[in-house]
């Protein structure tokens, strides 16, 4: 017997879940890419004017 459906996610909530997840992936990518670039540039001395 199929269990009863108690609550179905509405179309707006479903769209928010899909596009919100995509936006969160983009935010994480932005963080990783910029923070990594900053770490890499810092390690070669770019952030202190190139002086080591």
């Amino acid at each position: 017997m199929t269990p009863p459906v108690l609550a179905t996610l509405g179309p707006t909530a479903f769209a928010a879940l899909v596009w919100g997840s995509l936006a969160l992936v983009a935010v994480v990518f932005g963080y990783v890419a910029t923070a990594y670039a900053r770490e890499a540039l810092g390690a070669v001395g770019v952030d202190d004017g190139g002086r080591r």
Partner: protein, 534 residues
Amino acid sequence: MVSTELALAVTVVALGAFTVAGVLHARGRVRTLDDYVTARSTTGPAATTATLVASVMGAWILLAPAEAGAAFGGLPAVLGYAVGSAVPFLLFVPVGLRVRELLPEGHSLTEFALARYGRSMYALVVAVSIFYMSVFLAAELTGVAAALSLVAEVPQAYTAALIGGFVLLYTAYGGLVASVFTDTLQAIVILPLLAVSFAGAVIALGGAGSLHAAATSADPTLLDPTFGPGVAFGVYVAFAVLGANMLNQGVWQRVYAARDDESVRRGFAVAAVAVVPLVLLAGLFGIASAALGLTADGGASVAFFLLVVEAFPEWVALSVVVLAVLLVASSADTMCTAIASLVTVDLARVLDAEGRPLGRAGRLLTALVAIGAAVVGAQGYSVLALFLTADLVAAAVFVPFLAGLWSTSLSDRGAVAASLAGLTVGTAYFPQFAPALAALPGPTPTPSFLVAFAGATTVSAAATAVAHVVGGEGADLGALGAECRRLDSPMTDGGVAAEGGDGRGGRPTDVNGRGDGPGEGDAEADRIDGGEEA
């Protein structure tokens, strides 16, 4: 359908590019076996996040969450999978900091098990950890081989051999240093590729509204967050993922690879945030496949790829091929180096060996693991049953294992007994074992994955608490660090181990004869995050 030749060409180019990058980066950075197996104190917070996401997010995220969404309970199953995948990273923040505090010169989880408990718990942890990682590796190669066969009719043996071969090239040369660096690059490629693939899929299928309408008209339970079977799946998969990841040497290696405690905190916390939308999106496409009737013939395990073949333009399908290959490569290199590091570190202790033979053994083991995985991956076995079994054992062992980081009264026998208690309950309810148990005299429990996984963890946790309370032997946690020493055997770029000191912190001179003892400048030059000596 993507042509076989195009898919193969793209696969070779992508793998070749990362192999060259990994080898070039590792040059000059792998001086000792210690560098090879831990890449100690080299990754900042962003690189830590990137390598964790790339390592743990294998091709399984294109297979398992979609299958969960399509066949194991729709939305609640997917939500449970997504949240459950994040929990281990959050738990690793306190665990990782504690590990670094107690064993600052450590290398592996098995090293901790032996130093803290003794031989019995050590043997159990070695067996469970290697079993889980081997199954993970074989499952990854099997999964991607099946997926590329479906999308572009690439022979399964070709896919497994190509990925295994390229991964072997850079991991055998650069060990964890190469693995972490390629992981970081792969994460920077994987994240936008995933986003583009998923966004392209949503648009190709008519938008989120069309997907919603298709799902609700096909089966309203797919989008019911309270659907019972889906909730049960979400809960037990969370227990399964948690136990398995806490015994994943690949993650432990990254605790040591982190530059400092702040890198552990931020790196693992952001990784936890990152995996939730990735698993969620992958799962939603399983729901879409089920809604469109693509999984009606039993293709739930490749639900995402069925959708790719059915509804995507060729450029999206091709980007999914690259994505799948990179997802597997970044996980396969982690598992290869992790399994090899466990055995190498333990060989060093058992044989009390140093020097080049130990380094060669580490490299040989990496090769054996990669070749073995490629052979198994080409066979097209169903690895789901093995995966579930490995997860069950890990669910029973991880609480007693980790409790030793804080408890001074939990003994070797107490930890093993707690693990076995959890394993007994888990086995009794595990559906995979039901036919065998039914042959035994007497009543048998009703099979249930939920009871098996939750029971294994909670019973072992309760037994651990009892063993902690009644245990009388006081373990000296402060002395654990003395049990571990750096592995100063020369490796890829190594020369002669440095003389003097206590033999635990010395750095060897490199091939150019630079005698660079440990110091701030040296640490900076060794960074994975792009450091170059000025």
